[in-house]
């Protein structure tokens, strides 16, 4: 039943694409298409949740499509159901947001047809149960999102972004292709059931892990495969950016989990070291990149990289525990990772919605040209603030819960027998803590520079509150942040079947615990109660406010700012995004980005202004991608001379080929 619902939702979404082409020019198109997308996604989300909660046998279905003698297999097991719920939820909210946001689209025909197709692609990836369907859906998802990235193709950057994106995407797909080639074997057992049955040799498994890391990692944005992400995500329209950053990266995570935890059989302990290492580096690098940005959407995109790193840390821990058959800790780590998947999809989408609202209100993405928007967009400011607190992993919101669980998993890792992990895991813990702290800094900057202070440009002054649809979507996700933060046990228990199916154990049931608090292992060991913390804070704050206003004073006068006596009216004297990041840049940047500051201070009599120039280099780009591009260009130039030979020289090519082959034959006999 659920399967039928899910598949028909996909079919409907696919059917919307041609419809969008047909009616794209009419005014009704935007609300119609996006409204339909929202409803459909909501339905499939409900279906997924139903499967997840019902448990029992996973619904399956086979259609006579795809590879003829195999057909297209579909299956919704617990894992698929969870990710389907995440995808569909994000899609529903994004569609709702787009009902309002899409009106400002100047070329709707470049967005409307691809958007439902993109949603359908993401749904299909999660539903697929054989290699062909999976990869086809995977690449289809990349393709449609590429089309969406190219929607505003007039900007040169976007063309470059689209190019890098699609090339990286298909590189990833090809490496997944190889991975499935190994999994399926030479005579093509492409159905996941067969793959599970067959167990590849140790060397092959390691190879598959590597390929899966490259394939899924390039889509999820693991360092150093992340370069496309900060280019492509901001280039797309904001609701698409939200989907790409909040949901599509999760689909990539799903691909990794599906291959490594489900299809690949029992893991080797050192795999986890690879995954943990990459995850740790990714999380710190990602947030450092983000801190250096002053383009709001690009900052958010880079920060996605950080969260992906956190998720992979959780997955790596789960691998480590699973490899040593410590089922309970594995369940804890996996749940932490997956819970962060859900949380991140919620608040990252929320933040991108906010960025979109700011973009439509002011036409600016550059934080250096914004400021003071809290006065003109109070509601947007509020939800954006909620998102910032949540993503900075601060209680009582949801971001903290998943990171807290990850820390608990890390604290269990001394039980691991292997020495490599004993040394690595604490370092990873430090990296995780560092990235969490830096994330807070990053979002103080994002919110403070954009919404607080004084407007830096007339555009920022003209900003108006955004439309009700967008606000509805944002408030919905903000509320979800609070619910997931204060009542996490609901989601943890919902994840239990997933953990059960992947690592053979589940976290202890949380719903029974007194006062609805979360107890990962044992109460004496650690527990957290978001609800109480939230209530305490609320009560304490209210109490203080009440008491003070009653007993002391509640009077208030307005006056010009004090600013140590000499306030400067010009808004340019405020701290800008770059200057805010300057201390951290001085601490980390000089190492990570080869950051250099050139100060040009004119002599006293000289009237020209002093200039401070900051130079940041992206080492990953310089070390990995530039050389490759150079090599290809070089080879292309060299070989291109062959285009300009004379006929005689071509003939001599043929001639030598003939002679060589004859020699081969002569020698071979």
């Amino acid at each position: 039943m659920a399967m039928i619902v899910a598949l028909s939702c996909v079919a409907l979404l696919l059917a919307l694409a041609p419809l969008a082409i047909a009616i794209g020019r009419t005014r009704a198109a935007v609300p119609l298409i996006y409204g339909a997308c929202a409803v459909i996604s909501l339905i499939s989300c409900l279906a997924a949740v139903a499967v997840l909660l019902a448990g029992g046998a996973a619904p399956t279905m086979t259609l006579p499509l795809g590879v003829p003698w195999i057909g297209a297999h579909f299956r919704i097991d617990a894992l698929a159901a969870f990710f389907l719920a995440v995808v569909a939820l994000g899609a529903a909210a994004a569609s709702l947001f787009a009902i309002g946001y899409g009106r400002h689209e100047h070329a709707p025909l470049r967005v409307l047809p691809f958007y439902p197709a993109f949603l359908a692609g993401m749904n299909l990836v999660v539903l697929a149960d054989d290699a062909f369907t999976f990869l086809a859906a995977w690449e289809f998802m990349s393709l449609t999102s590429w089309a969406l990235v190219m929607a505003h193709h007039r900007e040169r950057d976007n063309i470059h972004a689209g190019y890098v994106y699609l090339v990286m995407a298909s590189a990833g797909t090809l490496s997944l292709l190889l991975a499935f080639g190994l999994l399926a074997g030479p005579d093509g057992g492409y159905v996941f059931a067969d793959i599970r049955a067959a167990h590849p040799s140790a060397a092959f498994s390691a190879l598959i892990l590597g390929l899966a890391l490259v394939g899924a990692g390039s889509k999820a944005g693991l360092v150093p495969l992340h370069v496309w992400l900060p280019l492509a995500h901001p280039a797309a329209p904001s609701h698409v950016s939200a989907l790409m950053s909040g949901v599509m990266t999760k689909v990539a995570v799903y691909g990794f989990v599906r291959i490594v935890f489900d299809l690949l059989g029992p893991p080797d302990w050192w795999w986890s070291m690879v995954v943990l290492g990459i995850g740790g580096i990714t999380s710190v690098m990602g947030v450092l990149y983000a801190l250096m940005q002053h383009d709001l959407k690009r900052l958010l995109a880079y920060h996605t990289v950080e969260n992906i790193g956190i998720i992979f840390i959780g997955l790596g821990l789960a691998l480590a525990f699973k490899a040593h058959d410590m089922a309970l800790p594995a369940a804890l780590a996996l749940t932490a990772g997956l819970l962060h998947v859900f949380n991140h999809s919620v608040f990252k989408s929320l933040l991108f919605f906010g960025a979109g609202a700011v973009l439509t209100a002011t036409g600016e993405r550059d934080m250096e040209r914004l400021g003071g928007l809290i006065h003109r967009m109070p509601q947007t400011a509020f939800v954006f603030l909620v998102g910032c607190v949540a993503i900075s992993a601060l209680p009582p919101l949801n971001g903290f819960v998943s990171e807290w669980l990850t820390f608990q998993a890390i604290l269990l890792s001394p039980q691991l027998p292997s020495w490599g992990l004993k040394f690595l895991v604490p370092a990873i813990g430090a990296l995780l803590a560092l990235s969490a702290a830096l994330a807070a800094a990053c979002f103080v900057k994002a919110f403070g520079v954009t919404f607080l202070g004084r407007p830096r440009t007339p555009a920022a002054e003209r900003g108006r509150e955004t439309d009700p649809y967008s606000l509805a979507a944002m408030f919905f996700f903000a509320a979800l942040c609070l619910v997931a933060g204060t009542l996490p046990f609901i989601f943890i228990d919902a994840l239990a079947p997933v953990a059960q199916s992947l690592v053979g154990a589940r976290m202890p049931a949380q719903s029974g615990v007194q006062w609805l608090s979360v107890i990962p292992v044992a109460e004496s060991r650690s527990s957290y109660n978001g609800l109480l913390v939230f209530l305490f804070m609320a009560v304490a704050g209210a109490l203080a406010a009440f008491a003070i206003h009653r007993l002391a004073s509640d009077r208030l006068r307005r006056a010009p700012p004090w600013d140590c006596g000499y306030p400067d009216p010009s808004p340019t004297t405020q701290y800008s995004a770059d200057s805010f990041a300057q201390p951290i840049r001085r601490v980390f940047g000089s190492v990570v980005f080869r950051a250099r500051e050139h100060v040009d201070m004119p002599a006293p009599h000289d009237p020209r202004p002093a200039r401070l120039q900051v130079e940041l280099r992206d080492l990953v780009w310089d070390l990995f991608y530039v050389p490759v591009a150079r090599a290809v260009g070089f080879a292309a130039d060299r070989l291109n001379h062959l285009q300009f030979l004379t006929i005689r020289q071509f003939l001599s090519l043929v001639f030598s080929a003939l002679v060589i082959l004859l020699l081969v034959i002569a020698i071979w006999q």
Binding site: G371, G372, I374, H375, P378, V389, A393, L394, P395, F400, W404, I410, L411, P414, Q415, L416, K422, F423, P426, A427, G429, A430, A437, A440, V444, F447, G448, L452, G453, R454, E523, S524, R525, S526, Y528, N529, V533, F536, M537, G541, A544, A545, I548, A552, S553, R555, L556, R557, R558, P560, W562, D563, C564, P567, P571, T573, Y575, F580, P583, I584
Partner: protein, 318 residues
Amino acid sequence: MAVILDLAVQGAQMLLVLLLAPLLTGVARKVKAHMLRRQGPPLLQTYRDLVRLLRKDVVLADNASWLFRVLPYAIFAATWVAASLVPTFATGLMFSWSADLIAIIALLGTARFALALAGLDVGTSFGGIGSSREVMIASLAEPAMLMIVFTLALIAGSTQLSTVAEFMQSPAVGLRVSLGLALVALIMVALAENARIPVDNPATHLELTMVHEAMVLEYSGRHLALIEFSAALKLLLYVSLIACVFAPWGLAPPGASLPSLTLGIAFYVGKLIVGGALLGLFESLIAKMRVFRVPQFLGAALMLGLLATLLLFVSRSL
């Protein structure tokens, strides 16, 4: 009946920290003054300051937003909750399990997040300086703090402060290198977090050196009072944290009788006074360092914490 008692004890703790926080600050000031051969303000001066501030009008910058007025309450609430979750005179209170040490650190993080935002709201250059430096310091202090938490958690097998404290009282814990490292690191972090010398100077208004004061520059009246109060609470929190982990004597066990509770309170007040005195002593012995030396200072703390954790990871497995 027992529930009522538990509730009462919990309430007592919340009120106690509220009451004792200014005292601690007072003690520190007093000791510093004495070291400088000054008489110094009376111990109750801090209370008087707070009350006076509370009575005054708030002078609000023209372009301050609603957030600017909400934040002080948020800061105060977060800090108060955090402070009242640390075992002071008794372990195993009614709600002590509602947040473990990691959560307490995170609560302080929330408070700091709010404070940094407050610094940016009016859009003055000093507010910016303060916030940016604050987040830079925090981005190093928090990891260090978490490393310390790891160390404790690995020794005591729990991140639950009550459990840790009880474990520390038990003979099971021997003298450990890790503990020593952790203590040093913890003190360094505490100094940084509470904006004390050598990281920051709570008394200065010398623009280029100040961090905490720069952020709250635009605040006045009851808002300022709340912020000062939360600063005091934070200091108290760290002192009682150090006390309950490294000097857990006299803590009343769960469900203890009234006399032992009062004894615990007495012990606690004693510890606070000692702590405050030591702080004052230390501050008057050392000089403030440049802002960009702070990263090295905290980096050292982080390294110590990491070292302590590593030692444990290698030496034992829970």
